[in-house]
């Protein structure tokens, strides 16, 4: 991958040109030039100085969600590093203040307020669970902040103060089900999930779509978060003999579910039944063990194994920064997009002002994204492709299908509420 040389904005390059023509006392002049810019690019008192701009990172690094959110923090730091190496945003280095949401939703809200009110950060990259996003949403709307939210989620939300860099439910679900029906001739589905809003909403969308296609849902089940015994539901699946197990199990339950599925003699490589998930990224497979999930399919927008130049560079940079053993999942990649999308919007707006950044955001394109080309929709979600990958024993997904066109984000699908 080649991140292009600094893409100076029109204002920036114009100023640089005046500085360069001056030819004398370059350093002093450039400070002066920045000084005159500061007022222009920041009219609302954000933490922007002549050489720096401060942003916030707000994830759980302690508590039960730390397992999942660590990757996002790493990706955001990598993106910030790379942007700084290219000269920063509007000529300013990004500095970040990291706060710990501690897997506790009120803490998220409190820390969000601290970042916006005390630190006056220009943008926040953060949150992972929908619960944490819902907790910070009123804070961001009240104090007019900008949140870049990386996780694939259930949709049914569109805030002017959030850019959703992961997929919303319809993007992940509909393409996946269409594929399994078209390519695998699936007729019957067993829907399974952890018991909270994302799996429930997603399965609702899945069920509507399956029934619209004239096919059948033979079972739908939810287990409490953290549940570790899946033998009963595995027996039910064996009795109902569905063509597809549609699994949205999350967290530690995942490990128990796939290990027990394998132990019960359901060999997913034989695809009888076939397993399709939207909740297991490469990150989760590390805990599950590749040999336990081999043969399962996942529908999401990014796999570490994607074969393109952007991704090769991203994977290499990520491993160089965080260790060679590390794996990169869908959400980690989406988190990586956050700082880049923000940079592009700021430079298009020529200002750090939240309102101007918001106005500039729709239509922002990123050609350097590891997943390929993405574009921000008017509804603040991303146009992106949906891909199907097949899990291998090495813990990586092998790409078997990707949608030809970008999927339009549709956070409020008709008839699905």
């Amino acid at each position: 991958m080649s991140f292009e040389r600094p893409n100076l904005t029109r204002i920036g390059s114009a100023l640089r040109r005046t500085v360069l023509t001056g030819a004398t006392a370059l350093a002093a002049l450039s400070v002066a030039a920045h000084g005159s810019m500061a007022a222009d690019v920041n009219t609302t008192g954000l933490a922007v100085t002549d050489d720096t701009v401060t942003v916030g990172i707000l994830h759980s690094i302690t508590g039960t969600m730390a397992i999942s959110e660590t990757g996002s923090v790493q990706a955001e730091k990598l993106a910030i590093d790379q942007i700084n190496a290219m000269g920063g945003v509007l000529g300013r280095k990004i500095e970040f203040i990291q706060e710990d949401g501690a897997s506790d939703w009120p803490t998220f809200a409190e820390k969000a307020k601290k970042l916006l009110v005390n630190d006056k950060v220009a943008a926040v990259f953060g949150c992972w669970t929908s619960a944490s996003r819902k907790a910070v949403l009123p804070v961001f709307e009240q104090y007019n902040g900008m949140l870049y939210y990386p996780t694939f989620y259930e949709g049914l939300e569109e805030s002017p103060n959030v850019i959703y860099t992961g997929q919303e439910a319809t993007q992940q679900i509909i393409a996946g089900i269409d594929w399994v029906v078209r390519e695998k001739g699936a007729k019957t589905f067993y829907l399974l999930g952890s018991d909270y809003i994302w799996p429930r909403t997603s399965n609702k969308i899945a069920r509507k779509h399956i029934e619209k296609l004239g096919l059948k849902v033979v079972g739908e089940e939810y287990y409490p978060l953290g549940h570790t015994q899946f033998n009963s539901v595995i027996n039910k699946i064996k009795l109902k003999k569905p063509d597809v197990i549609y699994a949205i199990v999350v967290g530690g339950s995942n490990v128990a579910f796939y290990k027990q599925l394998k132990a019960a003699g359901i060999d997913m490589t034989k695809e009888k039944p076939l397993l399709l998930t939207i909740s297991v990224t490469e990150d989760e497979i590390r805990g599950i063990g590749g040999e336990n999930i081999e043969g399962a399919y996942a529908a999401m927008k990014y796999f570490q194994s994607l074969d393109n130049d952007n991704n090769a560079g991203f994977v290499k940079a990520f491993k160089d920064m965080w260790g060679q053993d590390i794996v990169i999942g869908d959400v980690t990649q989406a988190a990586y997009l956050g700082p880049w999308l923000w940079k592009a919007a700021v430079e298009k707006a020529g200002s750090f002002d939240i309102d101007k950044v918001r106005e500039a955001s729709p239509g922002i394109e990123l050609t350097t994204a590891p997943e390929g080309y993405v574009r921000i929709h008017e509804n603040h979600h991303l146009w992106s492709k949906t891909r199907i990958g097949r899990a291998g024993a090495d813990g990586q997904y092998e790409l078997v299908y990707e949608t030809k066109d970008l999927m339009e984000p549709d956070p409020f699908p008709e008839g699905y509420q």
Partner: protein, 308 residues
Amino acid sequence: MFDGYTLSELGSILAMQGFAGLILFSVFVLMALGLAIIFGQMGVINMAHGEFMILGAYVTYLCSHIFQNYLPGLFSIYFFVAMALAFCASGALGMLCEWALIRHLYKRPLDTLLATWGLSLILQQAYRTIFGAREVGVSLPDWMMGSVPLTDLIEIPINGLFVMALTLIITAAVGAMMYRSGWGKQVRAVMQNRVMAGAVGINTERTDRLTFGIGCGVAGIAGAAFTMIGSTGPTAGQLYIVDTFLVVVFGGAASLLGTIASAFSISQAQSAMEFFLSGSMAKVLTLLTVVGILMLRPQGLFTLKVRK
């Protein structure tokens, strides 16, 4: 829900479901045994029980790595070494904690709850610092995965059989130690009357430490075994703690028999209900039933004795 299935299919499913219940039973007993020893015999509410289990899981993880890299020929039997080491590691940590923390709180049983809860947070963060926040994958020897097919529908998971056998052995060992050995006599004597036990020459402090250590060690073995069926991460212990306390409290803390009876009834009820209802509903009904029974019979199924 049974329309359109043949009798043999239904028979197979019932057999499978019964077996699933037995596995759940074994898992519950294994989880609860260590806690029952500590809570039942010493009156200490050990909130860090799950973290002692996870220490066992991490020891297993380390063992799997070491055997894979240095002794690949012995990989197929590493699990037994790992369980022994898990027992030692968790037991040693347990004795250290007893010496540093718990022994100062014997006269204040409720404070042990807070102290051990703090301990659990400290341990979680320690795991996170040492092993990273992400879950680790424990690779198992091939013979421990997969299943034995009996008929087309009935398949017996090998790790289920393994957990059942392990539970049987551990329970027998703990029972023998408690009711047949000199140490068990001392433990029971200290529990019934500490002053008198001291007067007849029993080293009560040493007995306490050993009891706590053995309870934690058993938790470590359970943690090692659960790498077969669950996840290994800094906070994975929390997944088990509620069920563990449920089993111990419902059983009535004083007797091992109570723990076993309670594990059996809860596991069978839950797995039967899971089959007919959805998973979350089954959990709710199980908890409601347990709460109801405990309201009528606060001492649990079998009598509870706490050190006075």
